[in-house]
Every structure is written in C-alpha cells, then in structure tokens.
C-alpha cells in the first residue's frame, strides 16, 4: 500500500516537474513540418521518431569541451553549443536507416537553421536550409548549392578548418553561390561540421 502511494506521488511529482520546466532556455533547431519534411529529406523512409540529446545530461561536460576542441576551440564562431538538440531517427519499416539533424548558426542577418539527413555511416544524403535571412537566401537554398554536400561525411570536413576557412578536399572546393555573403557561406560550413561532429560524438562513435 505504502509503495503504491509513494510510487503515485513520485509519478505525479515527475509529471509536474516536467510540465513546469520553463520553455527551453536556449533555442532548439527543429523541423517546422516533420511529417512532410522527413519524407522529402529521406524519400525511402516510412516512419520516424523524435528524440533529444544535449550536453546538460550528467557527465557530459568533458564531451562538451571535446566538441569545442574539435571545432577549433573557438566556440564564439558557433551558435551556443550547450542547447538541447532534436534528432529525427528515420526508419524503413522497423529498420533504422538514418538520421535527420539540424543546428542553428549565427548568420549575417539572422539565424541560419540547417539540416542534413545522414545514413547509418554518417554520409550526407540531403541538405536543407530551413531558415536564413538576407537577399541571397535563394542562392543558398537552390538545389545546385545543396547537392554539393551530398555524399560528404565528417572525414571530408576534417580536412577543412572552419576557423580559418581553409583546407583541402571536397569541402574546400564547394562553390559559394553568393560571394557577397561570406559570413553565411562560412557559417553554413561551420554549422555542418558542428552537426557532423555532434552526431559523431553522440551516436556514430558510440556505436563503433
């Protein structure tokens, strides 16, 4: 009897605490319309689940420092790292076939929300800018620009220094469609590298 009462009280307290959590302190990056965005970004999928991960979980502080270091040790170039991240796990029937994950990046005239769909090996299958401000937005959201990222993985981004914006390989040869928007172009590359590093640290390397 006592156990029943205590369990009930614990559940109620948990629900209340959960409900009472303030709106996420920092801004999260979520798909605006997952039911149509997911099939578009992952055409072979037929279902998805939404999960969250963040550095605020206990014991994640060293991981945060590690990710900061992997990003070149200049966190100011990126949107705040210590925020909750939304991850879309993509399924075909019951088999997980990949992920869709987006991050925010500080752009020249506002926030940039950029998503990639990744297969189970971390290779980019689709690239999607959900939000960007500026007269050049259409150039960046064009198919021509986006397809340059298809097939790239973290290994390609490791050859490119997103702090100095110099490097070699496929990422270095990506063509900026709007030379007048260097902040947004480099911002996109930084956002993608951050995205892939986060996915590597939280999922791919854990699996390996």
């Amino acid at each position: 009897m006592r156990r029943f009462v205590l369990t009930t009280i614990s559940i109620l307290l948990f629900i209340s605490t959960w409900c009472a959590l303030p709106a996420l302190a920092a801004v999260n990056c979520e798909l605006n319309n997952p039911s149509s965005d997911v099939p578009r970004l992952f055409p072979v999928s037929n279902s998805f689940t939404k999960t969250y991960f963040s550095f605020s979980q206990p014991g994640k502080e060293p991981l945060l420092r590690k990710v900061e270091a992997r990003l070149g040790g200049v966190p100011v170039l990126y949107a705040p790292l210590n925020v909750p991240y939304t991850l879309y796990e993509i399924y075909k029937d019951k088999k997980k076939i990949g992920y869709i994950h987006g991050v925010n990046q500080k752009g020249q005239y506002g926030v940039i929300e950029v998503f990639v769909s990744l297969d189970m090996h971390g290779t980019i299958k689709a690239f999607y800018i959900q939000r960007m401000a500026g007269p050049w937005t259409k150039k960046f959201t064009s198919h021509t620009f986006g397809k340059q990222f298809i097939g790239l993985s973290l290994a390609d981004f490791e050859l490119y220094d997103t702090v100095t914006c110099k490097g070699t390989g496929a990422v270095a040869s990506i063509i900026n469609p709007a030379p007048e928007a260097m902040t947004d172009f480099y911002g996109l590359l930084r956002a993608l590298k951050k995205n892939l590093i986060l996915m590597d640290e939280f999922f791919y390397s854990v699996k390996r």
Partner: protein
C-alpha cells in the same frame, strides 16, 4: 477515555483502501477547485500586469475592428489603416493627457521564416517619447537608437535570442531588404515586448514609404477622468479609441467560456467526490450496524451516533481538502503550463495564483459539501434499532 474523533479515525482505518480512494476523490475535486479559483484570480492579475506594462492606457487608431485593434496591441499584427501624425497635436494639449507617443506598426512577409513563410512585425517608435511610456524596460546590452532616422533596431529578449542577434549585429527587413543594426537588446519582460523589434519611427516610415502612423499611445494623468478623455477623443475624425479597460473586458469575455468549462469540470468533480463520501460512510455504517446497535444498548443516543458518523465525514473531507489544496499549490506551475497551452491568449506572468483567500474558500466549500454528504449516512446510523441490528447476521 476514547474520544469520538479517535473512534471515527479507527473506523476509517479499518478499510484503508476504501478510505484512501475516497480521500483521493475529495483531494482531486479540491485540487481542481483551488486551481480554478487560483486561475480566476491569477489570470486577471496577469492581464492587469500585461496591460500596465503597455505603458499607456489609451490608444488611438484609424477606425477598424476593435478585435483587430486588441490583437495589434497585445499580439502584434499587421498595420491596419493609417492616421496622420498631426493627430498628436489635437491630443497632446488635452488636460487629461500626460504623455503621447506615435507608433507605426508594420508587418512584412518573410518567405524564409517558418513553414511556408511567416510575418515579421516591426514597431516604429520615437526614442524621445516611447521609452518614457515604458520606464520598466531594462537593457541587457546596448541602449535606444542614436537618432530618429538611423537604420537601427532594438530587439526584445526573445526576438534577439531567436535570431541569435547581439548588439552590433545586423538584421534584414524582409520584402524591403533593408539592413538594420542592432543597438540594444532588452531584458526579458514576460510580455509581448519580448518578441518585438523596435525601429526608429522615421526610419520605419522611410522603409514603409509613408509619413503616417498607425497608432498613438496615450498615458493619462493620475486622478483624471479617462472616460471623459475617451469621449473627447471619439470626436476626432475617423479614429477609434481603445482603452485598456475595454481590451481587458473583451479578453475577459473571451476567456469566460474557458472559465465556465473549468467550473463545470470542478462541479462534476465535486459531485463525484460527494457520491464517494456518501458511499464510503454509508458502507461503513451498514457494516457496523451491530456495533452501532451495541453502542445504543449501552446508552448512546441517536445524536451521539449521528455525530460519530459525521466526524468520520469531517475527517475525510478535511484531509482530502487539505491534500487537494496542497497539490494545487505544489503543481500550480504545471497547471499554469497546461492552461497556457489551451488558452487562445495568455498574458505573461503566473496564470494560477492561489492565495490564502482561495485556500480558505476551497476548504470551506469542500467541508460544507462533505458535511452535507455525511448527513444521510449519519441519519441512517442514528436510526439503527439496537435489537434488530444485534439479531441480524451482520
């Protein structure tokens, strides 16, 4: 000597699960009732707080729908119709007027905002007169515009956080492609101002290609007749006056439906709890018919038995009522979040404010209803015939 209270407590503890379930029923109804009373008080307080934070008590705007006007004020919205700036001269000299400030509201379609685009709203305000209307504004960083014509912006806390802007960064006015430099970011106010982007009035007029304004905010002097001023303002051509008393009444009318619904739920919960109390106490009486008969043979009067059974009701109702109030206080923040998700318009600040008066009122209602529920079982117990009950199988 054992007291009636002790006997009643022991009786209740004989059937722990049944008593607990009855307690839970009363607790839930008490919880709902206390939360509802707290909501009634809290919502009005929060609305008053929001309206006070508007900084002005009256707004003058071009004739249009008052509901759209209310939306403009409290949620931001598209500029409806324009009025001449010279209208200010007709208002400022009125004896009841303390301060006035011209405002231009503009909304532009941003195709890259949200799913399929969204509206980005801008408030053109005068750095000379607007801050005086909002003395409670505090800057997190930066300050107001350097001039009335500069291409600058002051962002509310949430607007800046959403766009990841800091002082010195740029923002772009969609459609017009005009860059603005962020010169100030406000501290969180808990009001609609948090999501607002303020631009110098003349700069926004230039962007919008107009020299007119959409609204005049009026702060009325203390201890003056604002109703008279309102009537005077109505004499101005082609304008409508929106007083915040009027806005508050409109919103309270809109919200009254939700309150009636919540009250209905509370009444149903209380009725269910009442039935639960009657059932529990009546069952207890029926199970103890022989005991009651023995008590009567030992000299207990019907009144004594009545009071004994009523005491049981009193104990259940007190504990359940207090537990429910405790839950309402403990989970007030959670209730706040849930209510906020349901309501069409929620002012900033706490929506559920449970004070001492609400607590006492809830307890009184639960006790009275509980005691009324106890009358029938207690009366049944009081009229048990000793010999019949002792002879019965039990």
């Amino acid at each position: 000597m054992i007291s009636k209270f002790q006997i009643a407590t022991k009786n209740l503890l004989r059937k722990k699960v049944r008593t607990l379930l009855t307690l839970v029923g009363i607790m839930l109804s008490s919880w709902v009732l206390a939360s509802l009373l707290g909501f009634n008080r809290g919502y009005e307080n929060a609305l008053n707080h929001d309206i006070d934070n508007m900084g002005y008590q009256l707004m003058v705007m071009a004739k249009g729908c008052p509901y759209e006007a209310a939306t403009l004020m409290l949620q931001g919205g598209t500029g409806l119709r324009y009025i001449e700036r010279s209208m200010i001269d007709s208002i400022i000299n009125k004896p009841e007027v303390d301060k006035v400030t011209p405002i231009l509201m503009q909304a532009y379609f941003d195709p890259d905002k949200g799913d399929g685009g969204g509206i980005a709203g801008y408030f053109g305000v005068e750095a000379a007169s607007f801050p005086g209307m909002k003395p409670f504004f505090r800057f997190r960083t930066g300050g107001w515009f350097r001039s009335e014509t500069s291409d600058e912006a002051v962002m509310g806390y949430e607007a800046a956080e959403l766009e990841q802007r800091e002082v010195g960064d740029m923002i772009m006015v969609p459609e017009k492609n005009v860059p603005l430099k962020v010169v100030g970011i406000l501290e969180r106010t808990g009001t609609q101002d948090d999501g607002t982007i303020f631009v110098p009035l003349k700069a926004l007029q230039k962007i919008a290609g107009t020299d007119k304004i959409t609204t005049i905010g009026i702060k009325v002097k203390n201890n003056t007749d604002s109703a008279k001023l309102e009537n005077d303002l109505y004499q101005l051509p082609d304008v409508q006056v929106v007083s915040f008393t009027q806005v508050k009444q409109t919103i309270m009318k809109l919200i009254s439906t939700a309150r009636v619904m919540a009250l209905s739920i509370a009444i149903v919960a209380i009725l269910i709890a009442m039935v639960g109390v009657v059932n529990t106490v009546l069952m207890s009486v029926l199970e103890r018919r022989q005991e009651i008969g023995i008590l009567k043979t030992m000299g207990a009067m019907p009144g004594d038995i009545f009071r004994l059974v009523w005491t049981e009701t009193l104990i259940i109702c007190s504990i359940g009522g207090i537990a429910g109030i405790g839950c309402a206080l403990l989970f007030a923040r959670g209730t706040d979040v849930l209510v906020r998700r349901i309501l069409p318009y929620s002012p900033g600040g706490g929506l559920v404010s449970i004070d001492g008066k609400s607590v006492l009122l809830t307890l009184a209602i639960i006790m009275v209803i509980g005691l009324l529920s106890g009358i029938y079982p207690a009366w049944q117990a009081g009229r048990v015939r000793p010999l019949d009950s002792i002879r019965s199988d039990g």
